[in-house]
């Protein structure tokens, strides 16, 4: 049966605008010879409408796959932001299909550090990283990363972050099936926007014990956070705040996001306010109070 609405139109609009080519064009402008060579190598494939790196990863040929991984490495070093977009658009999925789980882990962490202020980019990178960790049978690490993702994600991503957290909790606790219903009831209780109802339900369902028992993911970001100690500009601080949230260092993140809010340029008020909302989400280990904040600052129309 034919699809009635504009699904095709929308699918097209979702395609990456320029793909891999843009990254290397940008690099070549900086007279990076290796990038220029890479561009020449990629051009024929790009011209045929196929991403060269994805094609290499799909080839199932060890050498090709290795070459693709090197190219991604180089792209991340040359223009991290565009490389991260390509990773999220196509490369991560291809890497996972090719079984390159360790590369996914590495690129996700490197990418996260490179675009630390861009929550929407981090969300996708971390989602792929968690998939790789689960595929590598590292459920505990995946669970820590999923908690980090829940802490850092924007409010609109919570509906995606929660099922990921549930999946990881399940994988990390295969012998305790009662843990999932308990966790979900606690999350539901903590999601109540009314403070009294939230407290009442949390008391009924044994508090927020499951969420609180899950540690976040301090390992990959500690060194980078230390190096960012002297960063004081708005975006730099936002990035530090995000890394602190992922690391589970909520108290430090609190101070950073309060500062971010105070120094936010007028055009960044919405994003800075979301920083406060997600800080509350991480502090409370739940959505209720964060949504209470979101509703309280909503412009009266």
């Amino acid at each position: 049966m034919m699809v009635p609405h504009s699904y095709l139109k929308r699918t097209k609009a979702c395609l990456p605008p320029l793909g891999v080519l843009r990254i290397f064009v940008h690099r070549s402008a900086r007279c990076n010879l290796s990038a220029l060579l890479l561009l020449c190598a990629l051009l024929p494939l790009r011209a045929s409408g196929q991403d060269a790196i994805v094609a290499q990863l799909n080839s199932r040929d060890g050498e090709n796959v290795g070459r693709a991984v090197d190219q991604i490495q180089a792209a991340l070093a040359a223009n991290p932001q565009q490389a991260v977009d390509q990773l999220n658009n196509a490369w991560m999925a291809a890497l996972l299909r090719a079984g390159q789980n360790q590369a996914v882990e590495e690129f996700a962490t490197k990418g996260t550090l490179a675009v630390a202020a861009d929550t929407w980019r981090i969300e996708q990178l971390q989602k792929h990283r968690i998939t790789a960790l689960l595929a590598e049978h590292k459920p505990q690490e995946a669970l820590h990363a999923a908690k980090g993702l829940f802490n850092v994600c924007g409010m609109g991503f919570t509906k995606d972050a929660l099922p990921i957290l549930v999946d990881c909790l399940k994988a990390a606790n295969p012998n305790d099936p009662s843990l999932i219903p308990k966790f979900k009831l606690q999350v539901l209780a903590n999601a109540q926007e009314d403070p009294a109802e939230r407290q009442r339900l949390l008391a009924k369902y044994d508090g927020n014990s499951v969420m609180e028992s899950i540690l976040a993911d301090p390992g990959p970001y500690g060194e980078a956070i230390a190096k960012r100690a002297n960063i004081t500009d708005y975006r730099g601080l936002y990035g530090t705040g995000n890394l602190l949230l992922m690391s589970g260092r909520i108290k430090e993140a609190h101070d950073v996001f309060m500062k971010v809010y105070q120094i936010a340029p007028p055009g960044e008020l919405k994003y800075a306010s979301e920083g406060i909302a997600k800080l509350i989400k991480a502090e409370e280990g739940g959505l209720g109070k964060a949504n209470q904040f979101v509703m309280s600052i909503r412009p009266k129309s």
Partner: protein, 394 residues
């Protein structure tokens, strides 16, 4: 001597005057900039010190927070902003603004316990829910099936998934519909179950809510605020789309058409989606009638294409499709003609269908002309098969 002193002090005086003047100028510019930033609220934003009431605790009621539109954090994917954004469309985020009415679902068990009576269908319903809940909290109920190859958090597509074993919950919808629970309460329970268990468990309650609402809102006038809360929760039933539950979607949009004010944008959007639900149930003729009715209403309202010029193309496309599918080729022709005048990017497909309509109407030359115009291949001539008189072996 004095002349030379005078000549040497002159440049100093000039420098001093210039320095004072530039200082004054800088002060004036600064003052003007400050005044400007004051009026735009910038200064206030930057100088406001937001003090938390206690370390690690943010006071959400602190009035120093500036107004900002931040998305709400939801427990599950309750809304479908893409499929449900039908003409008349508003690209300024009209669908996303529905999330302003989102509230987390309440505790379904507490709600059932507090509202159900102790006898009749209420008691039977409570008994079933209790039995299911015992198993579920012990982790003995089956969670929705997942394809292990899919990334975490991504459920298997319902159409490919084996039905979830809901145990005692499976037939609860009939009991729930007979119970004393209001339709809106049933929807709220459905939303909670969507998060706690999954789409299939959610739709048990949503279906009951839809049945209940037929009688509950039977006498409600279009636009009556009494139905507003119910309609807002009805928007949060994306589970029905995920499960391809088109009969329930048909019911949902019938109710929405009736309860929103006549000719309102919401009512007409519901009209389009009602037609879609009919079409996906193979009821193309009814779908065509339904979409033609929406066309009439759009004409009366006169706002089609006002905010999104692609509205006409979209309406032409779906109308042509529903008429084509119901073999009403002659009626489909003008819609395809209009569709081909738009800048919709499905023109080639539209031209193909238009040509097929013309062929069916015995106008092969015109069909050929359209195919030629859009560079379409001629339809493959299939050998005529004799109908089998005997069933094929095996």
């Amino acid at each position: 001597m004095s002349a030379s002193r005078a000549s040497s002090s002159k440049p100093i005086a000039i420098v001093a005057v210039v320095a004072i003047a530039s200082g004054l100028l800088a002060w004036i510019i600064w003052s003007v900039m400050e005044a400007k930033s004051d009026s735009s609220g910038t200064r206030e934003t930057r100088n406001t010190v937001v003090t938390p009431t206690s370390p690690g605790q943010i006071d959400v009621d602190n009035h120093a927070w500036k107004p900002a539109e931040v998305p709400v954090g939801m427990l599950a994917e309750y809304y479908d902003h893409i499929t449900e954004h039908t003409p008349p469309r508003d690209p300024s985020g009209a669908m996303q603004r529905r999330e302003r009415f989102y509230r987390a679902p309440g505790d379904p068990f507490a709600l059932l316990e507090s509202r159900l009576a102790r006898d009749g269908p209420d008691a039977a319903l409570w008994e079933k829910v209790q039995a299911w809940r015992q198993k579920w909290t012990a982790g003995r109920e089956v969670e929705p099936s997942r394809d292990p190859r899919l990334p975490p958090g991504v459920m298997i597509r319902p159409s490919r998934a084996p039905p979830q074993d809901l145990g005692e919950l499976a037939n609860v919808d009939q009991l729930a519909a007979q119970s004393s629970l209001a339709a809106q309460a049933l929807l709220d329970i459905g939303r909670a179950f969507d998060f706690l268990v999954g789409d299939e468990a959610a739709t048990v309650w949503i279906r009951a809510a839809l049945v209940k609402a037929q009688t509950e809102y039977d006498k409600t006038q279009p636009g009556d605020p009494a139905a507003a809360g119910f309609l807002r929760e009805l928007d949060q039933t994306r589970a029905l789309w995920r499960l391809n539950d088109y009969p329930s979607l048909e019911q949902r949009f019938s109710l929405a058409i009736r309860l929103y004010p006549a000719l309102s944008v919401e009512s007409r959007r519901a009209g389009c989606l009602h037609a879609t639900a009919l079409y996906y149930q193979g009821r193309s003729e009814e779908a065509a009638d339904a979409i033609l009715k929406v066309w009439d209403q759009d004409k009366q309202a006169g706002d089609l294409g006002a905010l999104e010029k692609g509205d006409f193309g979209e309406m032409d496309w779906v109308t042509g499709l529903y008429l084509f599918s119901s073999r009403q080729y002659a009626r489909a022709v003008p819609y395809y003609q209009d569709f081909l005048k738009t800048d919709d990017n499905r023109k080639r497909m539209g031209a193909q269908m238009f040509a097929s309509c013309l062929t069916q109407l015995g106008r092969p030359e015109e069909a050929e002309r359209i195919r030629h115009q859009y560079g379409l291949p001629r339809p493959a001539t299939r050998p005529v098969r004799r109908p089998a008189t005997q069933p094929a072996p095996g």
